[in-house]
Every structure is written in C-alpha cells, then in structure tokens.
Amino acid sequence: VRRPSEEAARRASDHALTDLYAAHWVGLVRLGVLLLRDRSRAEEVVQDAFVAAYPRLARLRQEGTALAYLRRSVVNGCRSGFRRHGVEERYLTSVRGSADAPGRASGDSAEMTALRRRDDAALLEAVHRLPQRQREVVVLRYYSDLSERQIADALDISPGSVKAHAQRALTTLRSTLGDAS
C-alpha cells in the first residue's frame, strides 16, 4: 500500500510524463537518430531516458529543466549505445548509407531532389564519421540549435571545448567533402 505522499508524487510524475512526452518525444528521437542513425535504437534510448527520469519529471518540469535533462540523458545513452554497437553499426550504416539505402535511391524523383539527397547523404555520412564529441557538437549546434553554453551543459564540457570541437569538425567536413568532390 502506497502512502498518500507517494501516490501524489506518482500522479504528478504521470502528468509530467504525459505533457513532456507530447512535447519532446518526437524531437528527442530525431536527435537520437542523428546521433545513432538507427531509429529503433534511438527510440529505446529516449524511452529509457523518460523511464529513468520519471520519478523527478514533475520537479524538472517545474524548474524548467526537463528538456535539458532529457536531452543530456539521450546524448549519454546514444554515446553508450554507439560504443556498444560500434562494429555492427559501422557495417549497418555503411550499407544503409550507400546505393541500397532507404530514401537514397533517386527513383523517379526530380533531378534536383535526387542531387540534394545525394549531397545530404555524403554530408551526413561525413558527420557520422567525425569523432564522437565533434559529431555531438555538430548535431546539437546545427540540428538542436543550441548555444555554446547549452551544448557545454549537455556534454558536460567547457564552452571553450565546444568551440574547439566545432572548429575541428567543420574543418574536417570541408576537407572531406572537398576531397570527395
């Protein structure tokens, strides 16, 4: 039998879960997909983040820090998953990013659409091959549109390190894409 205070805490967390899920589930899964390039695993990471945060969701929402907390959990979870599945993932993504990949084939689309997809694929592949920290900085800056301070908080590094990782990443990407063209 739960005590009344426990019951109230559970109800508050349930409400917070419903609201935060509606607001952030899709965006966080998309963030996870950009870091992992695997939708199913990204969903698992985000699901686990919600489950782990559940007891304190009400407080986090009240403090206005829920999204930052969940985002940090997702980035950490993706990093863990990426390491664990590293070898297998390199194979899977190498195939999915090539000629037989979903959405990569041009089919009967307009020529410009096909060219854009091809360019996107090359750029995304280059992003995926960046060192882990640089990849995280790139995704958080250019997809999540976070400030250096917010990225530093999410990755638990200094703003100066964020700037350095971003600079190195862009230099590498320009070099890689320039070499490929």
Binding site: D48, V51, R72, G77, G103
Partner: protein, 373 residues
C-alpha cells in the same frame, strides 16, 4: 530556428549542415511508445515500497550488457578465418531491444555519462558483427520475378578484420541459403563451390568461384544469382559502386547464360529491377529478443503505393495483422516499420507481404521467425 553563428568562414557549410540534418530528422516518424514507458514505470512492476526498483533493474541489465560487450573486445592479435561455409557461425548478439542507457538508468540527481568498466577479464579475439548478405528470392506469383533480399547475418569476425576477411565471410554466407529457409531463397551454388574475395587494382574488386553455379535456373535467376554475390561483396568492402570481376577457377561460364565478366550494382534509378519487393532488416531471422521490451520490425520496401501488409503469427495462428506505409513507393525503396509493442515470451513469425493489385493475392512475402525471451 535562430541559426546561431558559428566559426567564421564556414557559412555555406553550416547552412548545408542545418538543411541536411533537418531533412534527415524530419523524415523520422517515431512510433508511439508512451504506453511502453507507462508500463515500465507502472507500480505493478515495482517491488512494494521501492520507487527505484525498475530503474535499478534496468541499470543492472545495462551493466550486464556493457560487460558482455566488453567481453567481446579483443586482447590479442586477431587470427585469420578461413573462407569456408562455416565462417559465419550464428551467435546471439545483443538484440536491438536491449536496454541501452546505463547512464540514464542511474538514480543520481543528474544523468551520468556511462562509465567504462575496466575489469573485464574474459576478452576474446573476435567481435560480433551483422554482415549484410544478399539472397535470391523466388517470385511470389507465376508472373512475378526473382529479386534480391538483404539479410543481416549475425556472425563473428576477428577484431580488426581485414577487408578480405570481411568479404570472404560475407561471401561464404551468401553461397549457402540459411538452414531455416522460410523464404525459399534459391540455392544457386553447389555445396562444394566456394567464393573468395580477390584484391584487384582500384576501383575493381574480384570474386573467384571454385566452380560454376547449379544448372537449370531461369535466365533472370542466373543473372541475379551473380548479382547477389556482387551486392554482398561490395557491401562487405563498403564500396557499393565498385566493378566486380567474377571468375571461375575451374574454367567455363558462371551459369549457362552468364559468362565470367565484370559486374556492377545497377544505378540508383534501376535498383528496383534487382531488389525483391520487401526487405526486413530487424529482427533478423532467428533473432532472440529480450522480453519486456517493445518489439519494432523495420525494413525496406519497393511496392505498389508503398503499401506493406503484415501479419504476426504464433504457432501457425495469426495473432496480429495490419498495414503500414513505406516512406516511398516503387521504383524507390522506402523504409517502413511496425511497432508490435511488448510481446509475451515465445516463438513468432513476422510476415511482410505485397498484395497484388490485380487479384488481391500475395505477390511476395518476406517471412522472419524470431523469439522473445
């Protein structure tokens, strides 16, 4: 979006990054997992009086998984593997539904970065891999055509395996249809015939067959049986567009109507001419999924109006069925997924089918057996 300024001199690249990441993310349509999250935090699953029980359990599982993964990390020099039919030994790598956030499972105030255990003592010289292997599937109807089906075959490779080792392992798997073969993949190669990767001056790569394929296949099947090796070896070496020179060591043609030659995957626009209508990427055939986690089936399809019909069977009975849409219709391959939710333990069979627009019959079926632990 505010397009925050980045380092000077990269404005165009930054704009391209924003566009590419945004388009990639926008294409993602996550499944609804609110019920699964609610089930995971349900009081029913907690020990009485223990708020943290499910989280502690998740942390324990995650710790075991991390330990298991580390157990696969190499500590000694890799040993070469022979290119034989036994190269790919079925293993049980961590299923896609394995809990994956040891950091997020921590009950500490802030989410923690997953730590890197340093106490693993059972290191191995091999690592678990999932090799993309292409098989030849028969037509689903009398007026249909053969097509290639991609299957991720679990196996083990030496740590730091060379390109040749990867290619040989994938080719060995491609030469023999799986023992459990519900999709009736065509056995195009006699049991004694082997295939080996041959390094050639770039951009070409080579495949050397010890003998010709079986006789009596249709002309289209003969051509696609060779293409299955081309798709497999180019995937293994991660050079999708490489020309592949296929030779027969014993001399003569590969099949009655296909001589030795240099082959390639088709251009993107013609891929639909070689692939089977529906692929299932996950779970892979025979995969053992962890219980208590939502099962999501994913794959690719090149079918009419992007419509994929599916059934979940158990013990021969249909326990669930439905339709889903791929992200695009043929001639493009579109991605699709089906969320099955949390399944009770047992053996299941997932059947993804293309229904004929002409008469409603099953034009093609891709069957994947799997178990939930």
């Amino acid at each position: 979006m505010t397009n925050r300024p980045g380092p000077d001199g990269f404005e165009q690249l930054e704009a391209e990054l924003r566009g590419a990441l945004s388009r990639e993310a926008d294409a993602v349509r996550p499944d609804d997992r609110l019920d699964d999250i609610r089930a995971a935090v349900s009081p029913i699953r907690r020990r009485p009086g223990s708020w943290w029980a499910p989280i502690a359990a998740a942390a324990a599982v995650a710790a075991i998984v991390v330990g298991g993964w580390l157990g696969l990390r190499p500590s000694t020099a890799p040993s070469p593997i022979p290119a034989t039919r036994s190269t790919i030994a079925p293993v049980s790598p961590a299923p896609s539904t394995t809990p994956s956030t040891s950091g997020t499972a921590s009950p500490s105030t802030e989410p923690s970065t997953p730590s890197t255990p340093t106490t693993a003592t059972t290191a191995s010289t091999t690592v678990a891999v999932a090799l993309p292997v292409y098989y030849l599937a028969p037509p689903g109807s009398s007026d249909g055509r053969f097509g290639l089906v991609r299957v991720f075959v679990p196996g083990q490779l030496p740590a730091g395996a060379t390109v040749a080792q990867k290619a040989d392992a994938a080719l060995a798997a491609a030469m023999t249809v799986p023992a459990d073969n519900p999709n009736r993949f065509v056995a195009a190669w006699p049991a004694e015939v082997t295939a080996r990767y041959v390094a050639l001056p770039a951009p070409e790569i080579g495949v050397s067959l010890s003998g010709p394929g079986v006789r009596g296949l249709t002309e289209q099947a003969q051509r696609l049986a060779v293409q299955a090796l081309v798709w497999t070896v180019t995937a293994a070496v991660q050079q999708a567009t490489a020309p592949v020179a296929v030779t027969v060591a014993s001399g003569g043609p590969i099949f009655e109507t296909v001589g030795t030659n240099v082959f390639k995957r088709p251009a993107d626009q013609q891929v639909f001419e070689e692939v089977a209508p529906i692929w299932v990427d996950s779970p892979y055939p025979g995969q053992a999924l962890a219980g208590g986690k939502a099962v999501v089936v994913t794959g690719l399809a090149c079918v009419h109006e992007a419509n994929v019909t599916w059934e979940l069977r158990q013990g021969g009975s249909v326990v669930r069925q439905g339709h889903t849409m791929a992200s695009s219709g043929c001639p493009q391959q579109g991605s699709w997924s089906v969320g099955l939710g949390t399944l009770a333990g047992g053996r299941y069979e997932f059947r993804a089918t293309e229904i004929s627009m002409k008469d409603g019959s099953v034009a093609f079926a891709n069957v994947v057996p799997f178990t939930v632990g």
